[in-house]
């Protein structure tokens, strides 16, 4: 099997792909980046917590113009995963407002973004519709 690496370290591929957040031990605030301290309570101790792999689209945009080198159009969204906000693309659906809607139920999906010179495959993630995903 080809070696794999997640696009970001808060995407964990095994045993099933899911996102992991740093949860503040003091107040429960969740973060995806490496922390110096908690922005809510300034605590410095964190636990790793799994984030729900299904959620609801709370906001989205269909980006038709982006910085050079970024393929368009794509759907960028804010997904509410059982109380944890996640930034992600909405994938496996036509990028238009007829197919992407506010409140739509979605689930985590992964896809290859290519192999490096050593043959390691980088794995990206997005969210696809629970119903009617196109692949």
């Amino acid at each position: 099997m080809t070696a794999q690496i997640p696009i970001v370290d808060y995407l964990v591929l095994e045993p099933e792909p899911h996102l992991v957040a740093h949860s503040c031990r003091g107040c429960g605030a969740r973060y995806f980046d490496h922390r110096d301290a908690c922005a809510s309570c300034s605590g410095t101790e964190f636990d790793e917590v799994d984030v729900a792999t299904t959620g609801e689209v709370r906001a989205f945009t269909i980006v038709s113009m982006a910085a050079p080198g970024i393929p368009v159009p794509f759907v960028a969204a804010l997904v509410d995963c059982d109380g944890t906000s996640v930034r992600a693309n909405i994938v496996n659906v036509p990028p238009d407002p007829e197919h992407v809607t506010l409140g739509m139920k979605v689930r985590l999906a992964t896809e290859s973004i290519g192999a490096d010179s050593a043959g390691t495959e980088a794995i990206g993630f997005g969210f696809e519709p629970l119903e009617g995903a196109t692949k």
């Binding site: 690496i5 969204a77 930034r87 407002p97």
Partner: protein, 400 residues
Amino acid sequence: MSEDVWILGIHMTKFGKRPDKDTVGLAAEAALGALADGGVTMRDIGVIGAGNLMGGAAPIGQILQKQIGQTGVPVFNVSNACATGATALRTAIMAVKAGECDMGLAVGVEKLAGAGLLAGGARSADADTWTPRGRYGAVAAVDGRIGTETMPGVFAQIGMEYGHRYGGVDFELFARISEKNHAHSTLNPLASYQKRFTLEEIMGDVMIAYPNTRPMCSANCDGAAAAVVVSDARLRTLSAEQRRRAVKISASVLTTDPWEEGCQVLPNVNTLTRNAAKAAYEAAGVGPEDLDLVELHDCFATAELVHYDNLMLCEEGGAADLFRSGATWRDGKTPVNVSGGLESKGHPIAATGIANIWEICHHLRDEAGERQIEGARVGLAHVIGLGSACGVHILERSAA
């Protein structure tokens, strides 16, 4: 309570393409204009707050002094994204309030014409070997792969989130907000664009980030604005004409975004605006119903909608209804962005937070000509800089 501070002089340059002047030339035009408007000179100024984002670390305040007056007074070069101008002004106001001096100058300037899309930067080629880097341990560029870093896309989501929460919001509503601001701009000779668009033209224009089409995005342009502020005590020593034209700063508030769930995933521009508005209304002793006009930060049509609510111009959740009632058109109950707003007047980033105050002052002084809001006595100016910073100023006509 410390004494009042007043706007004594204020000036905004023509916004748009300004190949005739470099950055400091535009800053000088605004600063000299504000000094002349106030009937004072650089020799009267005890502190300078200055901002220019595109110039990077270059000290725009001292560069300006070297063109118009090296008096040796302290300069604070400030940077707060789109709230930079308001921050420069607030710095000068704080110095006067603190008694460090009795007159201050604030300047914001930007050369941004033709800058195009403001985004996270071009995507470079993927590395030869996937190596985790940075605070997310990313092995590849994430803009476009994990959401978007473009400003039109971020603010599109902010408007859509409001729609999801309260309902009654669609593409056409946002386009109609843009239609209003472009219509308003036809009366503003200093605006970058003075063209009225039909709803169909706006909705049919180039899509940037749904639901924001091109005319629903702020216009990148060149421009500068400057203001002279003065203490109450010093103002009383000035001429009757200067006192008559002085505009009272009833509130000057700057906030940042407090932590809330999700705020580091999609910027929350709501709470810090609401916090700033509440503090400003309390300081000024006025409420939203007292405002004769509002200049708010319509960097995108989707942003204007949420700020109706954040500034409490409507009941919570009532922004779409407020707009549909016609209240925010120039003949409505609470005219919003009669200058044309950022979508039409333009958005030379560091100048914007002073230019919106110039617009309010113009009406309070009864000097706005064709676009005058008759009998304007109280106005509010609002800016948001992503990151985030929010500036709210409430201004009142002089009683003198």
